[in-house]
Amino acid sequence: MVKVYSFWIFDKHCNCIYGFEYDSIKQKVHKVETDNHDMIAKSKILYGLVFSLTSLTTRYYYSNKITNESDDSLFPQKSNFRKITTGLYTVHTFKTETGLIFALLADLESGDSMDIELQYIYRQIYMNNVGLNPLAPLDYAETETEAKGKGFRQIKNDNFDKELYNFLEPLL
């Protein structure tokens, strides 16, 4: 049985737009909110980790390979990073083409990849409730100043919450 510890969504402006974490008794949920500094700090660290490891592996891979294709700035070459395993837990990530990053912290039994679950969350739950929702903002950073990791807006959508919990709860 896979155990999920926490779930995060980051947008293209390096902001954490959604995140929650269960505590050990599985009763209280810590969510990323404006006044919850612990979770905000954690989200920033997680984003930094994912970001730096992606750039690291990309740089390593492409400097080792002779590429004849010209570097296209519209579709930059990348070596998307999938997961980190430590002795205690595994971080699975899934990147969409629009720059969203979905990250899932699960235990070691989660196996090789949880791509299917993350894609389902993106395709079904995120798209139906947030992406296709006319009331949801197109961009969670509304001004220039919020664009560089300083944003504070989060997804506040009860349906999204509910469906996500329903999907992840059997896995908790």
């Binding site: 390593y60 997961k83 837990y89």
Partner: protein, 243 residues
């Protein structure tokens, strides 16, 4: 998956040894880039501890000293107040003493050399070292239960997987990190424990050849150590499909 390169990073994040096993030398990565890579990996090790889910915090290694007592206290509290949690906690404590499966040297090679041949090859690698024994670190109790001796690095990164490459790490107790980078050119699955075994063998060679050299100063780059180079090469040859 074929073996790409081997890095050794010292406890303060400096790159002290790198060896590329890639065929094309011309396209290999610059040394500056590698230094940056080593530093980034080193900091990533620290960061993984910071994003520990709260559930797992008591099992983190940063609690080293008071760990044992804390566990005792916790289980006592739980016995008194919340009997349901007790089982939860116990499973977690069990998980903390991680057990790795043991893989004999050369087990990941594609070529089906006979086991004898592999053992002979491995014996020739460890010949002339101060180490005496069949393999560096495994304990066998009885016939079937072969397990690794002392592997308890619970909070270190063990594997970073991307679309094109796989990075496996092993951190020794002193903080030296051994990093093996594999690419996906050959379709071959590597077990995470298998690679850890391989990196532990590299660690054994490092401590046996490099650290016992009286002219080597700690945490400095490993240079002019031909003996280490050849042994590493032989080990890699034995343990990867290149053999």
């Amino acid at each position: 998956m074929s073996f790409d390169s081997l890095l050794i990073i010292n406890r303060s994040g400096g790159l002290i040894y790198n060896k590329s096993f890639n065929a094309c030398e011309s396209s290999s990565i610059g040394s500056n880039e590698l230094l940056i890579l080593a530093g980034t990996l080193h900091s990533a090790f620290t960061l993984t501890n910071c994003i520990l889910p709260e559930t797992l915090v008591p099992f983190s290694e940063s609690y080293n000293g008071a760990e044992k007592e804390e566990f005792d206290d916790l289980s006592k509290c739980n016995n008194l107040s919340l009997p349901n949690n007790c089982t939860d906690l116990e499973t977690n404590i069990k998980r903390q003493e991680m057990e790795l499966k043991y893989f004999p040297p050369g087990s990941s090679a594609v070529k089906n050399n006979s086991i004898n041949e592999k053992t002979v090859n491995f014996q020739s690698i460890i010949k002339g070292l101060t180490f005496k024994g069949s393999d560096f670190f495994h304990i066998s109790d009885g016939n079937k239960n072969i397990r690794l001796s002392d592997y308890h690095q619970v909070s270190a990164i063990r594997h970073i997987g991307t679309e094109h490459i796989d990075i496996y790490c092993y951190q020794s107790v002193t903080g030296t990190k051994f990093i093996g980078i594999y690419n996906h050119e050959e379709k071959m699955k590597h077990n995470i424990d298998q690679v850890t075994c391989f990196l532990m063998r590299v660690y054994a060679l490092y401590s046996d050849i490099v650290l016992k050299n009286p002219f080597y100063s700690l945490d400095m780059p490993i240079r002019n150590s031909e003996r280490f180079d050849t042994k590493i090469k032989a080990l890699v040859k034995l343990d990867t499909s290149a053999g």
